[in-house]
Amino acid sequence: MLRKVSIALICMAHSAMADQAIVGRFLDEHALPAFDQLDRSAANLAEVSATHCDGQSPELLAAYGQAFDAWVGVSHIRVGPSEEEDRAFALAFWPDTKGFTAKSLNALIKAADPVVYEPEGFASISIAARGFYALEFLLFDAGLQDAETATYRCDLVRAIAHEIHQNAAAIKWGWQGYQDVLRVPSADGPYKDDTEALREVFKALHTGLQFTSDARLGRPLGTFERPRPRRAEAWRSERSARHVQLALVASYELALMLAADEPLITQSLQAAYDRTIELVEQIDDPAFAGVADPSGRFRVEVLRQAVDRIREIVTLELAPALGVTAGFNSLDGD
């Protein structure tokens, strides 16, 4: 039944005016406020780190948590200002399949590399030693808490926090200009018409869900024979399940905007998202450590299936209704 309806809608083709309205709402009610929030919380993190740089400090941990939350809320919007100057990569280098973060941080600490005192120089070091995931490693990894290096680590925390804020601010300001590129497509711009702009917005939804399924859930799950709890996102700070939840909430908001003209698709999205968010909220295993035992694993598997159900609706129903395809994204490849 559902399928027949969406086929009919393809034939009608989504109108340019409707495309424009969706892009406008995406900017005004989703992306711009979220990047504002990231900038504000990152500014607070940098400020707090000036007076609290110890990994045990509740003030620092709270500020860190809020800023990281804000990042997860925009992590699916990988376009324009986020991609310029490698900003988003520098904010969030994960997954780290070859242990680059540990290696780069250890090298800095071992050499007491003075690059932490030069903001401009620091912005050009490996992305593995910058951003939220490097800060997590620095604050939470048990192997790094050596008293001898405490002073340098403190300066490193400040340098990372400061650079996070710089990037967050640069992205926010970048969107002031880039929003018009999406709002008013032009033949010689990155988006030739409203459909191309709409496709970019759709891609944020599509790629974000793929990342949640494949990386946030798929990596710790591994295989039944070989689960990989240590591959969970931010397991050291026990934020793994929280990130899935935050990503889903942001994704839900965007999905409803994209489906605004499609009541039936909206209904199935609501059902699928509500169920998935309920599932993640029921998981009492913040770092997905339980993937290694059968019952814990089952819960995470069911959660991943629920996310994949959302992806199915998005790809098979929403995309044709909007007249777009997902095209290519940065997760292609191996």
Binding site: T97, I125, Q210, V324, G327, D332, D334
Partner: protein, 421 residues
């Protein structure tokens, strides 16, 4: 640069023969399959030359024979890299590809490594297993007898051992490591410098276990030859890859474009080029032991280009060409065809600039160094070109009205064929 301009001229000449816009999808697909067959056949032929050179090295170890084997490896990469564009669209190629070209690798699995390499990691418990030095070892709770190093041991036991992708035991990069050794020059110029005496007999042997090292090298090369042989057959007249491609013409054209777009963006621009730059890590280059990354990138890009133009120059100089995607696009939207061509040329020019600089002595790993602005600009030129051409590939999908065909960006959904149209 000369290379780039001459191929431009050639391609313009070759496509004009079909410029009438009458190319059928079927003819375009057949030409694509012919090109795939020719590229894999060329890869096989050059791998056999490598196999012979490796046999000579094992038989009569010498500095000259090690150099000859390295030269054969470098030559073998030229046709192979041009096949990478077939990966993402064709399941048969994608499922097989890890055997021959998996990367990056934790090379300590295979042979001795420098102390700075480190030990086992969170991700990989056998990162420093060193099979060449250890005829018996534990792997995932069982004892493995590796007294004989055979293709079967490499393929069935060591490849992706413990489910870790970085445990690469087979293919071009394992062979590359055995020929060059680790590149310990950091961001300085120079490739790996394995001494030929790593293959010498008796007391001259350096690095220990020279006979086992030669045994490994021979096994890995034999396996590469047999794997390539298998893939040539898949693209032959009755081959499975060709049959699958031709089974549904629309899906076949989508496969062509998927290969172009996924290789350009996620794989080459992202994973292989931009990531290395952002990590400032000299080992994050695709051919890190041999310092051949500039060629690796260049021929990947050329592979994308020759799928669009439907023309491939073989290793003996003969040309396989015919009706192309370009012809199909031109018939629908000549401006879009011009845009696609322009972007492909821009990318090749940028990849050519990296190659030229590297050949003149500015090694790819130097380009990745922290604070090396000129290197960053060179690499980013390639990245930008590749990302930009992907946008136009998406427009081509739209122009050819393929949007409602199963468009598998990557391993996106478990059941991508369920897309209705």
């Amino acid at each position: 640069m000369k290379l780039v301009t001459s191929s431009v001229a050639f391609i313009l000449a070759s496509t004009s023969a079909f410029a009438g816009g009458h190319a059928s999808q079927e003819a375009v697909l057949a030409n694509y399959a012919n090109i795939a067959e020719a590229k894999y056949a060329d890869s096989l032929a050059t791998a056999k030359v490598l196999q012979a050179a490796v046999a000579t090295l094992a038989d009569k170890p010498s500095a000259e024979n090690l150099e000859a084997a390295k030269k054969a490896w470098l030559a073998a990469r030229v046709p192979y890299q041009q096949t990478e564009v077939f990966r993402f669209g064709n399941a048969i190629v994608d499922d097989w590809e890890g055997k021959v070209n998996a990367w990056p690798l934790d090379e300590g699995l295979i042979d001795y490594v420098d102390a700075a390499y480190g030990g086992a990691t969170d991700e990989n418990a056998v990162a420093v297993l060193n099979v060449i030095a250890n005829p018996m070892f534990e792997l995932g709770g069982t004892t493995v007898d590796a007294t004989m190093i055979t293709p079967a041991l490499l393929e069935e036991t060591l490849q992706e051992a413990d489910g870790v992708e970085a445990n690469v035991a087979t293919g071009y990069h394992a062979i590359e490591f055995l020929l060059w050794g680790q590149d310990l020059n950091g961001h300085g110029a120079g490739a790996g410098a394995r001494p030929w005496t790593d293959y010498a007999a008796g007391d001259d042997c350096t690095g220990g276990n020279c006979d086992r090292r030669a045994e490994y090298l021979i096994a890995a090369t034999d396996l590469l030859v047999s794997d390539l042989d298998w893939m040539v057959a898949q693209w032959a007249e009755a081959g499975a890859a060709r049959a699958e491609l031709l089974a549904d013409q629309n899906a076949g054209i989508v496969a062509m474009l998927t290969g172009m777009g996924s290789l350009s963006y996620g794989e080459q621009a992202g994973e292989r080029m931009r990531l290395g730059l952002m990590l400032n890590d000299p080992e994050e280059e695709h051919d890190c032991f041999s310092d051949n990354t500039h060629n690796s990138h260049y021929y990947d890009g050329l592979g994308v280009q020759n799928v669009y133009f439907g023309a491939y120059t073989r290793i003996d100089g003969t040309v396989v060409s015919g009706p192309s995607l370009s012809n199909l696009v031109m018939a629908k939207d000549a401006a879009l065809d011009a845009e696609m061509k322009g972007k492909l040329f821009t990318t090749m020019k940028a990849l050519g600039a990296i190659k030229t600089a590297a050949e003149a002595g500015f090694a790819y790993d130097q380009m990745l160094e922290r604070g090396n602005d000129a290197g960053e600009a060179l690499v980013m030129g390639g990245v930008t070109g590749l990302i930009d051409q992907t946008k136009t590939i998406e427009r081509v999908v739209t122009a050819l009205e393929l949007e409602n065909i199963a468009f598998e960006g990557s391993d996106s959904l478990d059941n991508p064929t369920a897309v209705f149209n």
